[in-house]
């Protein structure tokens, strides 16, 4: 959520990069000041200032004299013509600098009144500096003009933020030399939040904490009253500031290192912060009050009255710390402590609930726990001897949701539905339905789409996929049907080329298509296939291949018996009997691609299946002078069907190794293509995954958004074919993805494929265990907890954890959360951890760690 004007996260991370890109010659200095090497580009964001004359060198020069100098030098700048308004401001700022420099050296001009352009120019300067941290010291020029009496300015938000943004380096010296600015404006930084690029937090983040150091210096030399700064920090934290911008004030407070006595004197302000909407501020306040409590100076009663809101903040550590603080008042204020503890029972985290229940028990108020029993997690309920919430498991197994049979298109709705495909071609079934209609006529109704189709073709190069994007292929088909021509766009990969060729041959015959799916999951019913062949004895080449690959395994024998005359490959696809007259492939009747497709219609990949390998890699870099290191999983997909892939056999994968996006066949951007690629061969999901899985497998590594991740997971979830190594790994990576919305898609796929039994639990668990070192367990917990909420999901979650946990080390990070989840779900299912391998692993825990305690509880 980016508050109006707030810098959002990706932008902050990418800020330096963006600057470099945007300004070409610009670089960010160590203090966050931009230095220009390219001149023109920088001028727009602020005049690179030369040495301004000092205030003391100009004191005593009458404003009228300075106005005269400004007027005398401004004519040229005012009368020139400019392309942009900022260029005029740029020129006038130069006039100001020259006039002030001239005045400092004793030059004089005839007295004049204030130039009309001056106030407006200064206002624009303040406005620009207050919203952009690209500026360096442009506030100093404004301030000098103000001190000399040339402009009158209100110390409003823009003024304060311009100072924060653009006072430049050596802030302490500048502020010491300008006590009026300190009194009028500096204290207002505790009242003005800022936003976008300009706030104390953001400027310091890219400026080596310059402002914080300035405040420390100014308080240490007593330019600023230290107590006033400390108090102002607390008052700022009490304002309605966003969490990101509030953090500067708590950090500055801590940097000032107030003594315990000083902190005790501020406890009223600290108590107000306990109800802050910013969790970090509440945590800060609880910690400081706990510090006061240790000194014995805490007003316990007042603190207990203010404490309940702190017990329900999101961070469990804060809530538990608040309960610990409350516990101190047990002897004298039992009633108030009870109120705090009862409030904490409403916290979702079991550890907070346990701590609150224990506090209530210690107070002798167990009834308070009973009243909140419904809100407690199953494990806490069980520990408290309350009846656990039992989950009714649905006995009906969860079925996979296959792609529905597309609604047939008629000439009446052909134009509308084709128009929709020009905008979004990601519905593979809809594409097939439109193709089926187009194959048998209806060209004239497409006339209204001519203009749009041309625009879509022209737009191709601007898309991530370039000319070969799928809507562009549809547009080419529309144009060719209308007798128009568009230059062909041949995709890189054989599977995409196959689809493009099939599209281009649609209009070469008026016979019905063979490959239009008529069964859920994108299958073609063998009987329908035979009937279509009867109507279309000379089938389109690519269409027949597509149909063979989509033949449903059931009902082939019956279809074969009803068929009279069929191409030999089609008959082989139905009855599986190799023609006796020609045993060698080269001697078979019809193109080789038909026979390959017919064979593939019987069995998924066997020895030629895509191979997946992965390793855990280390990445090291330097940040703020420190060595940093992270770990990530690197995957490689190896395919080895053929060295010479042809455009008419999409299941033959080129022999190659793909280990990064965009490499080989593993394109980074497939976009709308993914569902269509997944629909090519319903028999085996590994085929389309070999083209699309890498972005998903790498999704736990990076926060970067990749649109193909959800598309691949959605296509996998609906795929009716064999689920192999790639499928299990893709699913495991998906539930571990960095981005929440990617995990949401993976959870839905998991429910479709694992809860339904299409992918064995142990296969997913094996992949998770293998990459447990780099895929955070807390993401698994969140994903699996969501899975556990659906009928049948709790049992699968238990099975998966039963399989996974014994493969993890006892020190695995996040293990406690996984154990808690297992325990909650076992309680809900009224089951116990009886698996021998799991029991043995649980029995291996020793010591008093939270994980060890949960392990013992699991063993009962």
């Amino acid at each position: 959520m980016a508050e109006d004007g707030e810098v959002i996260d990706w932008w902050e991370r990418g800020l330096c990069h963006a600057w470099r890109l945007k300004a070409g010659g610009l670089t960010l200095s160590g203090h966050g000041i931009l230095e220009s090497t390219a001149g023109e580009g920088f001028a727009k964001s602020g005049e690179p200032m030369g040495e301004l004359p000092s205030y003391t060198s100009l004191v005593g020069v009458a404003p009228a004299t300075l106005f005269g100098l400004l007027e005398s030098g401004a004519d040229k700048a005012l009368n020139a013509s400019y392309e942009f308004a900022w260029q005029k401001d740029h020129a006038l700022l130069g006039v100001i600098d020259r006039a002030l420099a001239a005045a400092a050296t004793g030059s004089r001009a005839a007295d004049a009144s204030r130039p009309r352009w001056l106030q407006g120019l200064v206002t624009r300067e303040l406005s620009a500096a207050s919203t952009s941290s690209w500026s360096s010291e442009r506030f100093l020029r404004v301030r000098l003009l103000e001190r000399l009496g040339l402009v009158q300015l209100d110390v409003d938000e823009s003024y304060v933020l311009a100072m924060v943004s653009a006072v430049g380096p050596d802030k302490s010296d500048k502020l010491r030399a300008d006590p009026d600015l300190v009194e009028r404006a500096l204290w207002r930084v505790f009242e003005v939040e800022g936003g976008g690029e300009v706030s104390l937090t953001n400027v310091d983040r890219f400026g080596a904490d310059d402002w914080r150091k300035t405040f420390l210096e100014l308080t240490s030399d007593r330019t600023l009253d230290r107590t006033r700064v400390i108090t102002a920090c607390l008052h700022a934290l009490g304002r309605d500031f966003a969490a990101y911008r509030a953090s500067w004030y708590s950090a500055t407070y801590l940097a000032l290192e107030p003594t315990a006595e000083e902190t005790a004197g501020l406890q009223t302000d600290l108590r107000r912060l306990l109800s802050s909407a910013v969790p970090a501020t509440v945590a800060f306040a609880v910690k400081q009050l706990a510090r006061v409590q240790k000194t014995g100076l805490l007003d316990v009663e007042a603190t207990l009255e203010a404490l309940p809101p702190a017990t329900v903040v999101k961070a469990k550590g804060t809530a538990i710390a608040a309960l610990t603080l409350a516990r101190a008042g047990r002897a004298d204020f039992r009633g108030l402590v009870g109120i705090v503890a009862r409030a904490a029972l409403g916290h979702p985290h079991p550890d907070v609930q346990r701590a609150a229940a224990k506090l209530l028990a210690d107070l002798g108020e167990a009834d308070g726990v009973l009243a909140a029993a419904e809100d407690l997690t199953p494990s806490v309920r069980q520990e408290l001897g309350l009846q656990a919430e039992a989950r009714q498991e649905n006995e009906v197994p969860h079925d996979q949701s296959l792609a529905p049979v597309p609604v047939p298109v008629s000439t009446r709705d052909l134009a509308e539905r084709a128009a929709a495909l020009l905008e979004d071609a990601s519905d593979a079934g809809e594409l097939e339905a439109v193709l089926a209609c187009l194959a048998t006529g209806g060209a004239e109704v497409l006339e209204p789409l001519r203009k749009r189709a041309k625009a879509v073709v022209a737009r191709g190069p601007q898309t991530d996929l370039g000319d070969s994007w799928l809507p562009g292929q549809v547009a080419r088909l529309v144009l060719s049907v209308l007798g128009d021509t568009a230059p062909p766009a041949v995709p890189d990969h054989p599977a995409q080329r196959f689809v493009a060729r099939r599209l281009s041959e649609i209009y070469t015959s008026g016979a019905p298509l063979l490959a239009t799916p008529d069964l859920p999951g994108g299958w073609v019913d063998p009987m329908a296939f035979v009937e279509r062949l009867v109507q279309n004895p000379s089938p389109r080449h690519h269409d027949l291949i597509a149909a063979l690959l989509r033949l449903h395994p059931d009902g082939r024998d019956d279809a074969a018996r009803t068929a009279c005359s069929l191409p030999a490959a089609a008959r082989f696809a139905l009855d599986g009997v190799e023609p006796t007259r020609r045993l060698l492939r080269s001697g078979r009747e019809g193109p080789a691609a038909w026979w390959i497709a017919a064979e593939r219609s019987w069995t998924p990949y066997t020895t030629a299946a895509p191979q997946l390998s992965g390793d855990v890699k280390t990445h090291t870099w330097q940040e703020n002078g420190r060595d940093r290191r992270s770990w990530y999983a690197k995957f490689t997909v190896t395919t080895a069907n053929t060295d010479r892939p042809t455009g008419d056999q999409p299941t033959e994968l080129k022999t190659q190794t793909s280990d990064r996006w965009g490499d080989g066949s593993a394109s980074r951007f497939l976009g709308d293509w993914i569902p269509t690629l997944a629909a090519i061969w319903p028999r085996d999901a590994e085929h389309f995954l070999s083209l699309t899985c890498l972005p998903v497998l790498e999704s736990p590594n990076w926060a970067e958004s990749t649109h193909d991740v959800p598309r691949t997971l959605d296509a996998l979830a609906r795929h009716p074919g064999r689920m192999g190594t790639l499928a299990a790994a893709t699913l495991a990576a998906g539930i571990s993805a960095t981005q929440r919305d990617h995990r949401l898609h993976a959870v839905d796929a998991f429910i479709d494929l694992v809860v339904s039994g299409r992918i064995p639990v142990h296969e997913v668990a094996s992949v998770m265990a293998r990459y447990a070192g780099v895929w955070p367990a807390n993401r698994w917990v969140e994903s699996l907890a969501s899975v556990a909420q659906v009928p049948g999901g709790a049992a699968v979650t238990v099975d998966l954890l039963t399989c996974l946990l014994p493969q993890l080390s006892a020190e695995h990070r996040g293990l406690k959360k996984l154990l808690d989840l297992l325990r909650d779900e076992l309680i809900r299912l009224d089951r116990r951890a009886t698996d021998p391998a799991l029991a043995q692993w649980l029995g291996g825990f020793a010591g008093s760690s939270a994980a060890a305690r949960t392990a013992r509880l699991l063993l009962g």
């Binding site: 959520m1 932008w11 009242e191 309605d240 909407a277 709705d413 929709a420 919305d741 949401l744």
Partner: protein, 445 residues
């Protein structure tokens, strides 16, 4: 332009907090008033009320979606709108991105004082007020004045002007969100603890693509599958405005608009002590309410315009507009009254309260004429009709737009068009200009 007699203030003293909200413009029961006075009394549950007012103000200051190419652009926050419905006060705001609407309803049980008038106005919600509200601890009573005696004030203070640029799409969205809200039906209720669990688990940034929230056991689950009966939610962070109120929550109720796989309006209502905080979210975070176009059918109907004039004359800032009463008094069928209210909603003249399942009367204190004319699709459709670009052939209409003749087909599922706009949105964002033009011709023939 807002004109306030003086800034709103919140002071602490004599064991209570005194908040005076300065008013600017709007309508009361007796007509236009430059500075209406609505309430003078105590607002119950002060800490909860302060948090709710801050949440409403925060929505106005927030851009939940920033289009590519617009980084950190600043739109000055519009001031909240306050409506006095005689027994309750409603504080409304609308986000800068036009996709999130927030309303705090202070219900009769939370108002201890005199409701002096009915009507709608803007209130000044300046930074010092926000800072002071953040300091309200709940230990001191909160005295609230909405408006004050201007005759006294204007003697010692000049009028304060606040220039806030309010883009056309913002005004339009603020009006249209009511119509989208009027299509919703209750989907589910969850207890406060589950509401806390759910909303706190939402990330602070979220995908633009819609997901669906479904009940699961006692709690809620998010799925990416379009699910009838579920509540569509795009931009998970857009529910975060509810978070500061969670500790006061009694329960969370959600309302869903008719199912649409491309996303639909969702209304989320946090039940508080004698109050409600309502957040309505557009179908996608990148889609503002301004472009939804759900009202275009009604606006294209001249008869609805006449009905709306009649119905509006009978409104009196009721907290709950009784359609059957209006129907009986106006002699119009209930359906026509409903359509008339839809038209009035698009003009910012009624709001919709999902909890009551009814419209309430309030007149947005913006230029009603400007609001009523801000529908470019309708404007374009009228231009097509005026240019003679539409010809009818049975259930099919041919609409020439530029050098393309689009085909508009009337079906049992609604009108369909061959234009790119319809291809992209189908009927989920109201009719395209070609469908509207064909409809205008049909109505006229």
């Amino acid at each position: 332009m807002y004109n306030y007699v003086r800034p709103s203030t919140l002071t602490f003293g004599d064991g209570q907090a005194d908040m005076m909200l300065a008013t600017s413009g709007g309508r009361t029961a007796t007509g236009h008033d430059a500075h209406p006075v609505f309430f003078d009394g105590f607002l119950g549950h002060p800490e909860q009320a302060a948090a709710a007012l801050l949440a409403v103000a925060k929505v106005a200051r927030t851009r939940f979606y920033t289009p590519p190419g617009m980084v950190a652009a600043i739109l000055r926050a519009a001031d909240p709108v306050v409506t006095s419905n005689g027994d309750r006060l409603r504080f409304e705001s609308f986000s800068a991105c036009c996709g999130v609407y927030a309303r705090y309803d202070a219900l009769p049980g939370s108002l201890d004082g005199a409701l002096l008038d009915t009507g709608t106005t803007n209130v000044d919600f300046n930074p010092p007020i926000r800072d002071a509200l953040a300091r309200i601890s709940g230990l001191e009573p909160l005295h609230l004045q909405v408006g004050e005696d201007v005759a006294v004030r204007t003697l010692d203070a000049a009028v304060i002007e606040k220039k806030v640029p309010l883009p056309e799409r913002w005004l339009k969205g603020f009006a249209e969100v009511q119509l989208a809200s009027a299509t919703v039906a209750p989907a589910f209720d969850v207890a406060a603890s589950e509401a806390r669990r759910f909303i706190r688990s939402l990330p602070s940034s979220g995908s633009r693509k819609p997901v669906w929230v479904v009940p699961a056991g006692r709690g809620l689950r998010i799925t990416t599958r379009p699910t009838p009966g579920a509540v569509s939610l795009s931009g998970l962070d857009r529910l975060k405005p509810l978070e500061p109120l969670l500790r006061f929550a009694r329960s969370l109720r959600a309302y869903a608009a008719p199912h649409d796989a491309q996303g639909a309006t969702g209304v989320w209502e946090l039940q508080l002590d004698h109050a409600r905080l309502v957040v309505a979210l557009s179908p996608e975070s990148s889609r503002g309410f301004s472009g939804e176009g759900g009202v275009l059918w009604d606006l294209a109907d001249e008869q609805t315009a006449d009905d709306a004039d009649l119905v509006s004359a009978m409104l009196a800032f009721e907290p709950r507009i009784d359609i059957s009463r209006l129907s009986a008094e106006s002699g119009l069928a209930a359906e026509r009254v409903t359509r008339a209210l839809g038209r009035l909603g698009a003009a910012g003249r009624v709001g919709y309260d999902a909890a009551e399942g009814a419209y309430f009367h309030r007149e947005l204190p913006y230029d009603a004429e400007r609001l009523a004319t801000m529908h470019p699709r309708l404007r374009d459709a009228t231009a097509l009709v005026d240019a003679g670009a539409v010809r009818l052939a049975g259930d099919t209409a041919y609409v020439r737009s530029g050098d393309t003749e689009h085909v508009v087909r009337r079906t049992a599922d609604g009108d369909r068009c061959t234009c790119p706009w319809y291809g992209k949105h189908k009927g989920s964002r109201g009719p395209c200009k070609h469908v509207l033009a064909a409809d205008l011709i049909r109505r006229g023939s």
